[in-house]
């Protein structure tokens, strides 16, 4: 269970060093993307258009932040992760096309995403769900907000972070998936529990 301090942009070589159960902290740029932003990004890519931010080597965060407008700028009040499994629909294409190296969220992701992470070199980090203030504390500045027409939770917030974490590596770039391992154990345990009821 090693601890990594990562600076964006992150190389494929660096990200492949991380293994399941390791912990990491990110310094640099992370970008929030939820359902609607994934959909729009992939649509633009299909049309051959550029995204407003180059995501190569960056971390993306499954998060719909609570943000307050203050003195003409934005302040992130709370920014914990949202349930990542909703993004399983798009994440493989997203990783392939935009070369993101880190995906942070909660609750884990499925095989299709894990396969893409192995193939292209990326990891999934589980950040404690609900720990919105802990996350906000590491967010130093809102660099920009893109696609604000999608609404506060769904917009793409480009954030400058310092030691953003801890996140636990739950899917590494070698095909290991911590949530899948736990699910298998839980299913085995289930039959024993039934017997005792």
């Amino acid at each position: 269970m090693a601890v990594y301090k990562l600076n964006t942009p992150i190389s494929e070589e660096t990200v492949r060093k991380l293994g399941v159960n390791d912990t990491f902290y990110i310094t640099g740029t992370i970008v929030t993307v939820r359902d609607a932003a994934h959909r729009r990004a992939l649509l633009l890519h299909k049309e051959g258009k550029q995204l407003p931010v180059n995501l190569q080597g960056l971390a993306v965060f499954h998060c719909g932040p609570l943000v307050k407008k203050e003195d003409g700028g934005w302040r992130v009040v709370a920014a914990g992760p949202t349930t990542s499994s909703r993004m399983d629909l798009f994440e493989d294409e997203f990783i392939k096309n935009f070369k993101v190296r880190i995906v942070v969220g909660k609750g884990g992701m499925g095989k299709k995403t894990a396969d893409a992470m192995k193939k292209y070199g990326a990891v999934y980090g589980a950040f404690t769900g609900g720990a919105g203030v802990l996350a906000a504390k590491a967010i130093k500045r809102v660099k920009s907000v893109e696609w604000s027409d999608l609404g506060m939770p769904e917009a793409m917030w480009v954030l400058e972070v310092e030691d953003f974490g801890p996140s636990t590596v739950a899917i590494d770039a070698h095909g290991n998936n911590l949530f899948e391992t736990i699910q298998t154990k839980v299913d085995e345990e289930k039959l024993k529990i039934y017997k005792k009821l």
Binding site: K68, V77, G108, T128, G132, V133, T168, V186
Partner: protein, 293 residues
């Protein structure tokens, strides 16, 4: 005489307290879980939760970005004047709290997908009324997050499945939910009454303090059995493994139709936010879940 403005101010304060500070019994349960957890990854999750709770309290910031859909439970003394105005007042308080605390706007039209931006809409905030003797007004707020609400479940079991069916339904609900409701969770379980009554009782269970055992010994025993069963799944804090999958299980019941055996499970995330206050006829306000100076 209790004025509308006084009630509005109390309700805004209750919303602010609820989203920024957990009640003492929930904090204690989380601390106990942290000390007892043996799985290293699970323990680290509980540490992050406790750090976050402390930071939220210190900085007066909402502990989670999902500040939930606002639900009120009102115990209205039959002698309180102006009860017909309370609903309007609680709506106004919700709008104000959304701006002032702030709360994330979470009220969306299910047909147009439009977010009203102020946490109000048709039937939202929802108000549960109970008329009681006396001249005091007791207001409780339950801001309910989406992640845990999405895995709440209702089972219309066959009456022959009985109590064993209930236990299996609760275990299955927790296993199907996995990491999604941000465990360790609190389960409100209720049986009987019909589909609506079971779910209403299940959810109201989430308002009960965690440090008080069920006064009914049969139910207390069932609660313990369910707690042990779901905690042996190994799902653990945030679904990353460990022995704390639930902080507590609360059970209630109503009599049932001979043909029906409805079982409802209301799931609450670790951020079990709630707050209550009692307003007396002379305008005196007593906060019941939080210390307010």
């Amino acid at each position: 005489m209790v004025t509308g403005k006084a009630v509005e101010n109390v309700a805004v304060k209750l919303l602010q307290l609820a989203v920024t500070e957990l009640p003492q019994d929930v904090k204690e349960a989380l601390r106990r879980a942290y000390h007892e957890e043996e799985n290293e990854v699970g323990k680290a999750q509980l540490k992050a939760i406790l750090d976050n709770v402390e930071l939220a309290e210190k900085t007066r910031a909402p502990m989670c970005q999902d500040t939930g859909v606002v639900i009120f439970y009102v115990k209205a003394g039959s002698q309180v004047e102006g009860l017909d105005k309370v609903e309007d007042t609680l709506r106004k308080a919700t709008v104000r709290a959304t701006r002032e605390v702030p709360l994330r706007p979470n009220a969306v039209d299910p047909f147009t997908q439009k977010n009203t931006g102020d946490n109000t809409g048709r039937f939202i905030p929802y108000i549960h009324w109970e008329v009681v003797p006396g001249d005091t007004l007791e207001i409780t707020v339950l801001p309910k997050g989406g992640g845990s609400e999405n895995v709440s479940a209702l089972g219309m079991l066959s009456s022959s499945q009985g109590i064993k069916g209930l236990k299996k339904f609760v275990v299955d609900t927790v296993i199907n939910a996995g990491a999604k409701p941000c465990p360790p969770t609190i389960l409100g379980v209720a049986v009987g009454g019909g589909a609506d009554v079971a779910m209403k009782l299940a959810k109201a269970n989430l308002l009960k303090p965690l440090n008080q055992p069920n006064p009914n010994p049969e139910l207390a025993k069932l609660e313990q059995e369910l707690r042990e069963a779901v905690n042996s799944t190994g799902i653990g804090p945030m679904g990353l493994g460990g022995k704390t999958t639930v902080l507590d299980v609360k059970v209630d019941y109503a009599y049932r139709h001979p043909a029906s055996y409805p079982v409802a499970v209301a799931v609450q995330c670790w951020a079990a936010r709630r707050s209550s206050a009692r307003i007396s006829s002379d305008g005196k306000v007593e906060y019941l879940t939080h210390s307010v100076v």
